[in-house]
């Protein structure tokens, strides 16, 4: 698309673009240099500050934090997905008595900040921080999964369900055998994108004092001295971002593969659903 927006650059435009590129790159480099200089003035780059990474226990603590992050995310994802499926089936149930209350509950769950739910479970039910984090993530993400799958089912041609009912399947069987498999496949990119959100939201555990990666940073900085805060934070943030980028890449790869398979078909998710799942 981007190439459609402007003409194929001629010699003059190429020169202007090259100059603009160089100026832009210099500006960005200048900004980076300024940041590095400011940090250097604070003594961030002194070797002794980074020497803590030669200590095994620092890595062990970071590893523990990462382990807590990943285990909470994994457990939450494993519970949230089936629960989301169930909520989705209830949400599109033929009986209004089930459908309408479900709709209200899902709106409620989706409209609340995840961290508030975590705090609610932590204080309201007096659970451990781990359970509060997992339960908060499960409730919110199950509601989002339910909405994504529902959007997937609604994007199917109506004939699918009609055909299922016509050959004598019950409503439930038609959902399970005909509609859900297609809907989940269609919504795979959104579902994986939501997994990234779930992984990112694990960091909210920091606020309810769950010992995840960021809390490990805080604990180490308190224990070793605040001069180590920046190096440890830097490494932890890099770990977090690297993991998230890898999972996001996986989502993009799945989307590409899906759209290749359904060549000519519309394997792309509804754009608004993708966006709703995004932040």
């Amino acid at each position: 698309m981007s190439s459609v927006l402007y003409d194929v650059p001629g010699p003059k435009a190429r020169r202007v673009s090259l100059i603009a590129s160089i100026v832009g790159a210099l500006l960005i480099l200048g900004l980076l240099a300024w940041i590095v200089m400011t940090l250097a003035q604070q003594g961030i780059f002194e070797a002794r500050r980074w020497q803590i990474f030669t200590r095994a226990d620092v890595w062990r603590l970071l590893g523990n934090g990462l382990g807590s992050t990943l285990s909470a995310a994994a457990l939450a994802a494993v519970i949230a997905f089936p629960l989301g499926l169930l909520l989705c089936l209830l949400r599109i149930s033929d009986a209004a008595a089930i459908r309408v209350p479900m709709r209200v509950i899902l709106e409620f769950l989706r409209g609340m900040p995840v961290v508030l739910m975590m705090l609610f479970i932590l204080l309201g039910f007096g659970t451990s921080a781990f359970i509060a984090v997992v339960a908060g993530l499960v409730l919110y993400n199950a509601a989002v999964f339910a909405e994504i799958i529902r959007a997937g089912i609604q994007s199917l041609p109506r004939g699918q369900r009609e055909a299922g009912l016509a050959i004598g399947l019950t409503s439930y069987k038609s959902r399970m055998l005909i509609e859900l498999p297609q809907a989940i496949r269609r919504m795979m990119p959104s579902l994986v994108a939501q997994m990234v959100v779930l992984l990112k939201d694990t960091s909210l555990g920091y606020i309810v004092a769950y010992g995840e990666l960021l809390r490990a940073v805080q604990v180490m900085a308190d224990f070793l001295g605040t001069q180590y805060l920046f190096p440890i934070f830097f490494v932890a943030a890099a770990i977090y971002i690297a993991i998230n980028i890898s999972v996001s890449r996986l989502a993009v790869w799945i989307e590409r593969r899906g759209s290749k398979k359904a060549a000519g078909g519309t394997a792309k998710a509804e754009p608004d659903v993708l966006e709703a799942a995004a932040p």
Binding site: M1, F120, L123, A236, A278
Partner: protein, 216 residues
């Protein structure tokens, strides 16, 4: 229930602070995000590269990390804030801008190729094509996803409560600690005020989506 009524002024303060944080960060994020999206499709390679890296990194940064950086790490390395609201606004708007940039870019991609070709064929330059032809159409199609991003922003502003800003979540936590016997009521009250913002926005998104849907 009494707890909620007694603390209504606190809830109201928190609600206004949340509204303020969301509105200011939302405006900054919309401006920054649109600029990033424009940079992403521009002919200048350096701008494209910068925008791509920015969006990729910020989108994959947990919000708590962004807040921790703005509110804890920045002051330690010499950037002092008078108020922590500023740190919260920086974290929220830089984070949200990445999502807005992605949404606007997908909107730009949804404008039919013929529109840009027609604009170029009558002699418009890149800036004109983008600002007069493409963006007005693109923004229109991305209004519903943008509202969804703003809903997420309102909910995300709750993280500020954990970083020294007294907004709805911050007050909620404070009140929950002060009223140990009525935690559930206090937090349900907090939830209610969040829903007061997010549910109408959600309804608005749905309505607008139906209204602006362009038949192509």
């Amino acid at each position: 229930m009494d707890v909620i009524i007694e603390n209504l002024p606190l809830y109201w303060n928190g609600f206004l602070r949340t509204l303020f944080l969301s509105a200011v960060s939302g405006i900054f994020a919309l401006i920054l995000g649109t600029l990033l999206a424009a940079a992403r499709v521009s002919p200048v390679a350096a701008l494209r590269g910068f925008s791509t890296v920015y969006v990729e990194v910020l989108r994959n940064t947990p919000l708590t990390i962004a807040f921790f950086f703005a509110a804890v790490v920045l002051p330690r390395i010499g950037v002092k804030f008078e108020q922590f609201e500023i740190a919260a606004i920086i974290a929220l708007s830089t984070y949200t801008a990445a999502f807005i940039a992605e949404a606007v870019r997908s909107g730009v991609n949804s404008v039919p190729v013929g529109q840009a070709e027609a604009a170029r064929s009558i002699g418009m330059k890149f800036g004109q094509v983008l600002s007069l032809i493409i963006l007005p159409q693109a923004l229109r199609t991305v209004i519903p996803p943008l509202i969804n991003i703003l809903i997420a922003l309102v909910k995300n502003s709750s993280v500020a409560g954990a970083f020294f800003v007294l907004e709805l979540f911050g007050y909620g936590r404070q009140m929950a600690n002060a009223n140990g016997d009525a935690v559930i009521a206090v937090l349900l009250g907090t939830a209610f005020f969040y829903l007061l913002l997010t549910v109408p926005l959600g309804i608005l998104a749905n309505t607008v989506e139906r209204k602006v849907a362009i038949a192509r």
